[in-house]
């Protein structure tokens, strides 16, 4: 595959990935993190 097409695919791939990575964490994961932190502090 040409460098051009590789770049083209790479750009779209990162856009798809970053779309999710830029979302805030859902509440249930934030809650779990808090719970784990509390248990670690005990």
């Amino acid at each position: 595959l040409s460098p051009n097409l590789q770049a083209h695919i790479g750009r779209h791939l990162r856009a798809v990935f970053d779309e999710v990575a830029n979302e805030p964490l859902p509440d249930r994961l934030l809650r779990l993190l808090k719970d784990l932190e509390r248990s670690g502090d005990e």
């Binding site: 695919i9 856009a15 999710v20 979302e23």
Partner: protein
């Protein structure tokens, strides 16, 4: 539960959560399931933090736990439901999209139609920022295997999306390009 987790390790762990979640979504194509996977990964990581050597690659360690969890569940599930592949692809394709994002929708749909191992390799190297060597370690295979999976993934995507050598990397992705 581990005895003492250093604040820096804890912060680093929290800092990888959004990337880990993006990886999970790219593997299973479904945010609900992805969040289950991240949750399970977080549990396992937290309970095995004593086996993690500080200063080594935390991100790679977390990604390894997540993909192993995903693939072992998938093997179990596959024995139960034969057309798992089809149902994941359908779920992803029917996700509501913002208007004007047809090309991304096409790309996302094509991505889900890749074989699991190829999609994983492509995402690890092409989006999650891992080297071929790190991706090989995460997936538990040889570097050459990762390279060939990435190549096959790119070629297959290119075929599915009707890309050809005249496609400009800056032009929108369309089937007629």
């Amino acid at each position: 539960v581990p005895q003492k987790v250093s604040a820096s390790l804890r912060d680093a762990l929290v800092g990888e959560m959004t990337n880990l979640r993006a990886f999970a979504v790219s593997l299973c194509g479904d945010r609900e399931r992805a969040d289950d996977l991240v949750q399970e990964t977080l549990f396992k990581a937290w309970n095995h933090l004593d086996s993690f050597r500080e200063g080594t690659n935390l991100k790679a360690w977390l990604f390894t736990i997540l993909r192993n969890t995903y693939f072992s569940e998938r093997r179990k599930r596959r024995r139960e439901v034969e057309d798992a592949d089809g149902s994941y692809a359908d779920q992803l394709a029917s996700r509501p999209e913002q208007p004007g994002h047809m090309e991304m929708q096409d790309f996302r749909a094509a991505l889900t139609r890749l074989p699991d191992d190829q999609r994983e390799a492509l995402v690890l190297v092409g989006a999650a920022g891992f080297s071929y060597e790190e991706a090989a370690e995460i997936s538990g295979c040889a570097v050459g295997t990762i390279k060939s999976r990435v190549n096959r993934a790119r070629n297959r995507l290119s075929d599915m999306l009707g890309l050809d050598e005249t496609t400009d990397s800056d032009t929108p992705l369309t089937k007629s390009a």
